[in-house]
């Protein structure tokens, strides 16, 4: 398919409202926040049910024998999808498990420093905090990041932090850098290839938090070459919740053990991660039908449409609200999620917080997009998806206008 044939916000092709029937949404509910918890099509749900029924017919046959080739097949397909060796992949429950798996396995020593960005996901930064609390003289180096910020400026900030640390000459070393591929709140696509190379050039290991990556942007680990990488399939790939992919480069595998040690401890990376104890694996198995669903349209088509919709939708909302998007003209920093500034006059308004705004949106309008403070503004993050169209963003813009107008009037 040439680029001109790919679906866009103006020419949705197979996408838009006609996709709603493939999903599980109730009539009057529009999902604008796919980015938080994802959702999956009906065919994926049907597959989950089928796997559960299959398992119950013969639990021993399944758990001792038949489960493993299916899990193996998933890793094979995903290895092709992300361009890496299947032996470097493990299927885990979610990104936080993936982060904890690596961080709680790495043999930190006194003087180790862990570099994070201030826009890193909160559970990730809390995990780093836990590592610092439980290991002697391991500290965090946090790079403050405030958008709008160009890729170039972001890289400069990180390099400045690396240089400043080097100049300390206090015997400490930056052992590991954790960087988002696409941050959560605010949502911005980072220059992840350059970040990996930059951190490597300073001798640091790199863990790429790609929680939002797979299914939202093309993922090529052969090109990116991180030390560790985690991505949630249940976010943008349409699998069921509780299905994520962990990549651990072969050279590090001997160090890495699951957060729950299994009976196959010390029998090799693939074996250690092959079975996580008794649980319902149907979420992980749903990755297969998710990939199948997407194959109907092709990754290029899906990504083209959702990206175009996020960009155009963000512009439309900003126009209605009389504001701007966080990433401005940098459309490359937007994948499927766009952050739109909210024209709240008084940022210290008691309801200017995620929780209160959530209640207003849910109770009065039956929609939700997370609102958050970043820099000098209040923003809301909107997720484009194949089941949305441009007029949904227009409607959302009008809703937010009403909400903010009300708040402005009441201050």
């Amino acid at each position: 398919m040439t680029k001109t044939e790919l679906p866009t916000a103006a020419n949705p092709g197979p996408f838009g409202h006609q996709q709603r029937k493939n999903f599980l949404f109730p009539e009057n509910f529009t999902q604008f926040n796919h980015g938080s918890y994802g959702t999956f099509p009906k065919v994926v749900q049907a597959e989950i049910r089928a796997y559960q029924d299959l398992t119950e017919q013969d639990a021993d046959r399944w758990n001792r024998r038949d489960l493993f080739p299916v899990m193996d097949n998933i890793r094979t397909q995903l290895a092709e999808f992300v361009n890496c060796d299947k032996a470097e992949l493990a299927l885990v429950t979610n990104t936080t498990v993936g982060i904890n798996t690596v961080l709680r396995s790495l043999p930190f020593v006194p003087g180790d420093r862990i570099l994070v960005l201030s826009t890193g996901y909160i559970s990730v930064n809390k995990t780093v905090s836990y590592i610092c609390d439980t290991q002697e003289d391991v500290k965090v180096v946090e790079v403050p990041v405030t958008f709008p910020l160009s890729d170039k400026d972001l890289l400069t900030k990180v390099e400045d932090a690396l240089k400043a640390h080097k100049e300390l000459r206090d015997g400490s070393r930056i052992k590991l850098g954790i960087v988002d591929w696409i941050s959560s709140v605010p949502s911005a696509v980072h220059p992840v290839k350059e970040l990996v190379e930059l951190l490597h050039s300073y001798g640091a290991l790199v863990y790429v938090d790609g929680a939002h990556a797979i299914g939202q942007v093309p993922v090529d680990l052969g090109y990116l070459r991180p030390d560790f990488f985690i991505t949630n399939c249940h976010k943008w790939l349409f699998s069921a919740r509780g299905s994520a992919l962990l990549y651990v480069a072969k050279r590090h595998q001997h160090l890495i053990h699951p957060t729950a040690i299994s009976g196959l401890y010390k029998s090799g990376f693939e074996n250690e991660f092959a079975y996580a104890g008794t649980q319902d694996y149907s979420s992980i198995l749903s990755i297969l039908s998710a990939l199948q669903f997407r194959k109907q349209y092709g990754e290029d088509a899906i990504i083209s449409y959702t990206h175009s919709l996020a960009v155009e939708g963000g512009k439309a909302m900003a126009k209605i609200l009389g504001t701007h998007t966080l990433t401005g003209d940098n459309d490359d920093q937007v994948a499927n999620m766009v952050n739109v500034a909210l024209p709240l006059k008084d940022l210290s308004h008691p309801k200017a917080n995620t929780k209160d705004l959530m209640e207003i949106l849910m109770d009065k309008y039956n929609i939700f997009t997370p609102a958050f403070r970043h820099g000098e503004h209040l923003y809301t993050r909107v997720s484009a998806q194949i089941y949305l169209e441009l007029d949904d963003f227009v409607r959302l813009g009008n809703i937010w206008k009403e909400v903010i107008d009300d708040l402005n009037a009441s201050s």
Binding site: T55, T96, R104, Y130, A260
Partner: protein
């Protein structure tokens, strides 16, 4: 429940009239094959190994799907507002079931996670020793070894346990090991004991109260691995008073796989953190740290509600009594057919699982050194499975009684195993 003719057991003077009205293999009442339709069993397939992976009823699956679908109606409202109260409700129900405070319970996915949660949170220091029995579950043993690998001078003290042993002998052997250790006076200390309430392979119901009390009298922390307990034997945490306890609801309680409950008394909570650190670390407290494990499918945990509802129809006493009697009588019947015996000398050492000796002539038969041969043979030729294992110089198989089984099933199983073993023995002749 149909009315049952009261049996008195002659010399068993302690049987009261209530227990004699409970279902038995001779008088299954609401149990036996008529229960099959409540589960997912295909025609021609009998589940003899409930103990490994559990199973759940159709009604429990409906309950799980109800929760599952509710999320899709509005994932944000569900996850941000409704999930935590739903989990609190389950904890409240379980707290009543297990006689403890709901705030001392955390819902996790399985025992291995529960064990890792505690062991990887405790701050072991050089000289600490972890006491465990040789019959400890494999993954738990690997976890204690991981702790030793990742901490300086932390070692395992293993108490060899070879059945048959009486309750008294088990407690004695553990206590002797402790006393021997104390006599060494080498500066080390037994910090923690990992003790099975009902071990897996072999399946033995341990004298847990006596063990907990004895261990605590030596100042040792006690972590009870009760993976198999809830739904198999009554559980009273106030009475037992362990330091930590983990139990799988998806084994004997009939909830969906991926639902377990961890008991952590308040005095330890500030130092126990999940295996996956989350947003609530250091700011939310124990309850909040364990209320959110990141994005996953919580409907398996919430299916505990459906499981408890299903069981309430019959009552815990009825279910436990039937399964226990069936395990005892079924085990005896199988041993009779095989010309062997069961592992445990006393009936009270059996919950719902019984270990029957296999009359294998050559214990070193290469076919038996890995589980694959028997797994394949049993599943493919006979369409059933019970795990087999070496213990004390013999081979045994472990059979799980359940409400969907009857005595005739055990007879059938005995004949299948006799055929399997006769063939193996013939090949070795």
């Amino acid at each position: 429940m149909s009315s049952l003719t009261a049996h008195s057991q002659g010399s068993a003077a302690t049987h009261d009239t209530l227990s004699s009205a409970l279902p038995t293999p001779a008088q299954p009442g609401p149990f036996g094959h008529k229960q099959r339709k409540n589960f997912f069993m295909p025609e021609g397939k009998t589940e003899f190994n409930h103990g490994s992976y559990g199973t759940f009823t159709r009604s429990v699956q409906e309950n799980m799907m109800k929760w599952h679908n509710r999320v899709e109606e509005n994932p944000d409202r569900w996850t941000r507002l409704d999930l935590k109260p739903a989990l609190i409700k389950v904890r409240t129900q379980l707290a009543e079931f297990m006689n403890c405070d709901k705030d001392e319970l955390a819902l996790v996915q399985n025992t291995t996670i529960g064990v890792n949660t505690i062991l990887r949170s405790l701050d072991f220091i050089p000289g600490d020793r972890i006491l465990q029995l040789s019959t400890l579950y494999d993954a738990v043993d690997k976890t204690t070894r991981y702790i030793c690998d990742t901490h300086k001078d932390v070692e395992i003290i293993e108490v060899p346990i070879v059945m048959p042993l009486t309750d008294h002998e088990i407690v004695f052997q553990v206590e002797k090991m402790i006393q021997d250790h104390l006599a060494k006076k080498d500066g080390s200390r037994i910090r923690l004991a990992m003790i099975d309430w009902i071990s897996s392979v072999p399946a033995v119901l341990h004298p847990i109260k006596a063990l907990v009390d004895m261990l605590k009298s030596y100042g040792i922390l006690v972590f009870v691995d009760a993976a198999h307990v809830i739904g198999q034997v009554p559980i009273d945490l106030t009475y037992l008073n362990p330091d930590f306890l983990i139990t799988n609801c998806h084994k004997w309680l009939y909830s969906v796989r991926g639902s377990a409950v961890l008991f952590v008394p308040k005095r330890f909570q500030s130092s126990i953190h999940p295996t996956s650190i989350q947003v609530a670390y250091k700011t939310g407290g124990f309850e909040n740290e364990f209320s959110w494990s990141g994005t996953l499918d919580y409907s398996t945990i919430l299916s505990i509600e459906g499981a408890l509802e299903f069981r309430k129809q019959y009552g815990e006493d009825a279910i436990i009594h039937y399964c226990h009697r069936l395990a005892v009588e079924g085990g005896a019947k199988m041993a009779e057919i095989l010309g062997t015996n069961v592992l445990t000398p006393h009936e009270h050492q059996v919950g719902n699982m019984v270990n029957v000796r296999l009359p294998i002539k050559n214990i070193n038969d290469p076919k038996l050194q890995t589980p694959d041969y028997l797994i394949r043979l049993l599943l493919d030729k006979y369409n059933l499975f019970t795990p087999s294992f070496k213990h004390g110089g013999y081979f045994w198989t472990r059979v799980s009684a359940q409400i969907y089984l009857e005595l005739s099933d055990f007879e059938h199983l005995g004949r299948v195993w006799k055929e399997v073993i006769d063939e193996l023995n013939a090949e070795n002749a």
